[in-house]
């Protein structure tokens, strides 16, 4: 009887949404590799890939095909199970985060109100933190299982870096949570969307900068790519990997980039809010159209952040390890703490 009373339409709706979001993140991650090479080329006065298809648009397909057909090497001295677990974990954790991000408002289809968020859990942002922290295991296990000094060094570097920067990230976030009063992603966005409310970045510029720097570090992007430091650690934790397992590691990095761009747009740039200071519901548009426009707006913000990620990568050299730790522990954490205290004081003062 229980099965009959279940809302099967809800299951179907969520299944379609999950498939859609996962596909979108994979395709966007794929084309971020292309964008990375193109933007790198433009910043260096080159042309970038332009041979595979028009404007080189099939380049990611060619790269993916190449990775699939390359020989799969598992070193004899490696721990076989963990060696395979590493990239799988990296990929899974990268994709899991997309579940709690509100990708848009509501769609009204077939007499149903379809939310464009897979799971509106009330601890949304904590969930993201939890899953992102699990991402450390992908690196750590991969580096450990390779049974290689360089890989292990890189993995330890990556793990310690991610743990250090998570602190500052969390502290920067607390200020946002104090403003919103909720951990639920939909409410964080809602408080920015509603009426003509401010986007959080206007109220929290310092917090945003700290969060952004930490997001770079979490994604292991330059200037914080010490985990894969190709010129000192010989490609870091994925040195022993080949074929699609290597592909998964590289791919997971791009998915992480995409997701953290989406998280940043959601937390600080109003998520699916189309324009700041404007009440979109007064435009008199069809609510479905408005939701789709909102989704497009979120995507546009996300793409902008992806561009900034790439832009930074091709501008700034890698930090030395001590500089990285100094920046994390001695600059960002105090900065985030002060920001948090000032925000708290202001909130208390203004409420009275």
């Amino acid at each position: 009887m229980y099965l009959l009373t279940m809302d099967w339409w809800l299951v179907l709706e969520k299944a379609i949404l999950v498939a859609f979001i996962v596909t979108i993140s994979l395709v966007i991650a794929m084309y971020t590799t292309y964008a990375e090479r193109k933007v790198a080329a433009w910043l260096q006065d080159r042309r970038g890939p332009n041979r595979a298809g028009p404007f080189g648009l099939f380049q990611p397909l060619a790269d993916g095909g190449k990775l699939f057909f390359k020989e799969e090497i598992i070193p004899v001295s490696s721990s076989r199970f963990l060696f395979i677990l590493g990239p799988s974990l990296a990929m899974i954790t990268a994709l899991l985060t997309s579940a709690v991000i509100p990708w848009g408002g509501h769609l009204h289809l077939f007499n149903r109100d379809v939310s464009l968020q897979i799971a509106d859990v009330n601890i949304g942002i904590l969930y993201i933190f939890g899953v992102v922290s699990l991402g450390v295991y992908g690196i750590m296990i991969g580096g450990w299982a390779s049974n290689n000094k360089f890989s292990l060094l890189a993995a330890i570097r990556g793990a310690s870096q991610m743990i250090s920067y998570e602190l500052a990230m969390g502290l920067a976030l607390i200020a946002v949570l104090m403003l919103t009063g909720s951990l639920q992603m939909s409410r964080i966005v809602g408080s920015q969307v509603e009426g003509s409310n401010y986007w959080n970045v206007i109220l929290q510029p310092v917090g945003f900068i700290v969060f952004f720097v930490c997001a770079l570090a979490e994604c292991n992007r330059t200037p914080f790519d010490l985990a894969e430091a190709e010129n000192e650690l010989n490609f870091g934790y994925h040195q022993e990997y080949s074929s699609m397992k290597l592909g998964f590691y590289l791919f997971a990095e791009y998915i992480n980039m995409f997701i953290s761009s989406a998280v940043m747009s959601t937390l600080y740039f109003g998520g699916y809010d189309i324009l700041p200071f404007v009440d979109e519901t007064k435009w008199g548009l069809d609510p479905n159209l408005l939701s789709i426009l909102g989704f497009a707006a979120l995507m546009a913000k996300t793409f902008f952040f992806l561009f900034v990620f790439i832009w930074i990568r091709w501008t700034i050299p890698r930090f030395r390890y001590d500089q990285l730790m100094n920046l994390g522990w001695k600059r960002l954490i105090p900065l985030a703490l002060v920001n948090m205290l000032i925000t708290a004081a202001l909130i208390l003062w203004l409420k009275k």
Partner: protein
């Protein structure tokens, strides 16, 4: 001791707090890279676009013909003697009756080979030739899979016949046409 007045003293002052969060310098760097988005790209997409060579470029050799399409070369061997890389070999033959339309003089080159792997494209053969029979064109020897492909035979070197293939002849002449 300063050898030049261009040397700059390295500044080893400890960073100020603002410098130590790197933000301002990073923004400056990013502005520089961003400006490069709008710069002209110097790349020439090679197979589609080619760069024109200078007028005095010395490329692949061409064996010349006269206006009636007869080969000018008399196989005198002066080019082979002049060649510092010893890239040219040839075999002479005597013109038979009835071949006056093919060869200009009564002696001609039955075999004429230039090894492009040896050739240094100095142009001394062109200068040595008393009959204006060889010159260096504006093209270069394309890549090849084997060494034998780089030994150019007489057929590879001869210019198209101006009587039977006038367009190909004009094309092969290229810059040379205006020079004469």
């Amino acid at each position: 001791m300063a050898l030049t007045n261009r040397s700059i003293q390295v500044d080893r002052k400890p960073m100020t707090w603002l410098e130590s969060i790197y933000l301002w310098n990073i923004v400056k760097g990013m502005a520089i890279t961003f400006s490069h988005l709008f710069k002209r790209r110097p790349t020439i997409s090679y197979p589609e676009q080619t760069r024109s060579f200078s007028k005095v470029f010395r490329g692949l050799h061409v064996l010349n013909r006269d206006e009636e399409g007869r080969e000018r070369c008399t196989a005198c061997g002066l080019c082979a003697v002049a060649c510092p890389a010893e890239a040219i070999t040839m075999e002479a033959a005597e013109r038979l009756p009835g071949e006056e339309g093919l060869y200009r003089e009564e002696k001609y080159a039955a075999r004429y080979e230039i090894n492009m792997l040896r050739c240094i494209f100095c142009g001394l053969c062109e200068e040595a030739c008393p009959k204006d029979a060889i010159y260096l064109s504006q093209t270069f020897a394309p890549a090849n899979y084997g060494r034998s492909g780089f030994i150019y035979k007489k057929n590879d070197l001869l210019i198209p016949n101006p009587l039977t293939e006038p367009e190909a002849y004009q094309k092969a002449l290229g810059e040379k046409a205006s020079k004469n």
